[in-house]
Subunit: 268 residues, 2 copies
C-alpha cells in the first residue's frame, strides 16, 4: 500500500470541503469529521445548523460501549436548535443511480454489492436499486428513538469496533471520522447499560463543535482524502486483496468493504 500511495498523483487526492467538515474539540485534541451530503443531505444541513447554534458546546461524550459505539451530544438538551429541525425524515437509503460507485469484486454477507462513493464505504442492491452508507469502523451516524423519523443529528455516534452492519438501512449515517478516532476509541467504557456513563464526572466534555468553514483559515486542519474513483484507489484495493509482503503466506484474494483503508493526509 505504501508503494501505491507513494506513486499517487496530486489529482488522486481531493481536499475535504470546509462546508462538510466538523471539528469537535476535546481537551485531548481535535476530532475531524467529514459529512456525506450525497447520502444524508438533510442530516448534514441540520448538523451545520446545530453547530452554528453552538448546540454541542458544553455537552459531552455520554456513552462508550466496547466493540460498538461511542456517542455524544443529546437529543433534547435544554438549548436552542437555532435553524436546525428537531427531527428529520430518515435518510437510510437513496437511489444508487447518480452515484459514482467503485464496486468491490468480492462477496459481502449483508449486501448484493459493496464499494465506495467519494471516499465513503457504501453498499447497493444494484446499479439501479437503492444505495446506503455502511457501518464500518469510524463511521458517524445520527442517533434516533424507535420512530424512524426521530433523529436530528443532535446525538451522534461513531463505530468503535467490528462493523455493525445490522444497523445498515436502519439509521442515518452522515459522515466519518478522518482524524482523532484514536481519541474516541480509547474513551473509558461506560459501566451503565449499553455503555452509558453513570456519573457526570465520567463524561468527557465537548469544548466546542465548529464547522470548518466558520473557523479562521489559519486555524483549520486541512486534510485531503484519496479519491475512490481513481486507478490509484483500485490499485490500493488490489494490493490489499492480495498482500505480497513477505510476511503473508496465504493472501486472502478477497477483501470486505470495511477492511479497505481510506487514506487521509495533510493537505500540501
Amino acid at each position: 500500500m505504501a508503494d501505491v500511495l507513494a506513486a499517487s498523483k496530486p489529482s488522486d487526492w481531493r481536499p475535504v470541503d470546509p462546508e462538510n467538515t466538523l471539528y469537535m474539540d476535546l481537551a485531548a485534541g481535535r476530532i475531524v469529521i467529514e459529512l456525506q451530503p450525497e447520502f444524508a443531505p438533510k442530516h448534514a444541513a441540520n448538523l451545520r445548523a446545530l453547530t452554528r447554534a453552538k448546540y454541542f458546546d458544553g455537552l459531552a461524550i455520554t456513552r462508550s460501549q466496547d466493540n460498538f459505539v461511542v456517542q455524544w451530544g443529546e437529543a433534547h438538551a435544554p438549548k436552542s436548535f437555532g435553524e436546525a429541525k428537531p427531527a428529520l425524515a430518515p435518510e437510510f437509503t437513496r437511489p444508487a443511480a447518480g452515484l459514482k460507485f467503485t464496486a468491490l469484486p468480492d462477496p459481502d454477507t449483508y449486501a448484493a454489492q459493496t464499494g465506495f462513493v467519494n471516499g465513503f464505504p457504501a453498499a447497493r442492491e444494484a446499479a439501479q436499486g437503492s444505495a446506503w452508507l455502511v457501518h464500518c469502523y469510524g463511521m458517524v451516524g445520527a442517533g434516533r428513538d424507535n420512530d424512524a423519523g426521530s433523529g436530528s443529528g443532535a446525538e451522534l455516534y461513531v463505530v468503535n469496533g467490528h462493523a455493525i452492519r445490522m444497523l445498515d438501512r436502519n439509521i442515518t449515517l452522515v459522515g466519518r471520522v478522518l482524524q482523532g478516532m484514536d481519541v474516541l476509541s480509547t474513551m473509558p467504557r461506560g459501566r451503565g447499560p449499553m455503555g452509558f456513563y453513570q456519573k457526570p464526572e465520567e463524561r468527557t466534555p465537548i469544548m466546542q463543535i465548529r464547522l470548518a468553514a466558520d473557523v479562521p483559515v489559519a486555524e483549520r486542519t486541512n486534510l485531503e482524502v484519496l479519491r475512490t474513483d481513481t486507478q490509484t484507489f483500485t490499485d490500493l484495493i488490489e494490493s490489499r486483496r492480495n498482500r505480497t509482503d513477505e510476511w503473508y503466506k496465504v493472501p486472502a484474494g478477497r477483501i470486505d468493504v470495511c477492511s479497505v483503508p481510506l487514506p487521509v493526509r495533510k493537505a500540501k
Copy 2:
C-alpha cells in the same frame, strides 16, 4: 437475545477449563483468556509452559494500534522459557473433520463457510477440508516473524477493532479474551510505527500471567461460556439475524461470523 439467554438451561453452558485459562493481571484488573487447543494444541501447551516459567511477569503491553491489535510480551526477552519451545510449527489450519462445527447460513467474504467450534468463531473450506479460527474482535494470536514457524506464544496480540480476516490462515490464533477486553481496547494508542509505544513509560506493565489451574481455587475467576452446539445458541443466532426489537425497521436477515455474540457469564 436477552430472552433467549433467560430461557437457557444450565446444560447450555460449559465451565471454562482452568487448564485452558490464562489470567493476565494488570494494575487495571484481570484479563481472562481462554485457549483453544483443538486448533492450536502446541501453542496452548507452550503458553502453559511460558506461564509456568513466569516468562510474562514483569513484561508489558508493547503495542496498541488503532483498529488493529494490542500486543504484549516479547519474542526474545532475556528470560528463561522453562519447558517452552522457542519456536513452533505453524497451526494456521487443521482438518475440519472431527470438529463439532455449528455453521452459519450466510455468505462470508473470505471463507466458503463460517461458524463456531466450542465457543470460538471459525471457518472451513468444507466439512472434509481444512478449518481455522478467524480474527474477530477479542481473538488472541501468537505473533511471529516472516518465517511461518517463528512464533512461540511469547508475544501475543488481540484484535481491537474490525475483524482482520486477511490474517486468517497466516498466523496462529490460540484463544480469545473472555473478560477484560474493555481494558485492552482502551489502551492509549502507541505513536510509533504500527502502534508500538516509543517510550518505556508508555507501556503498561504485566504484573503476572498465570494459568488458572495454578491459582488457588478461591482466587479464580470462574466463568461459563454458552455452548455453541446447542439449540439455545442456534436460537440466539436467529434472534440476531432477524432483530425483532421495535427499533429495527429492516432486519438484516443475515449475520457475519464476527457479529454473533459469544455469551460469557460468571459460574453459578
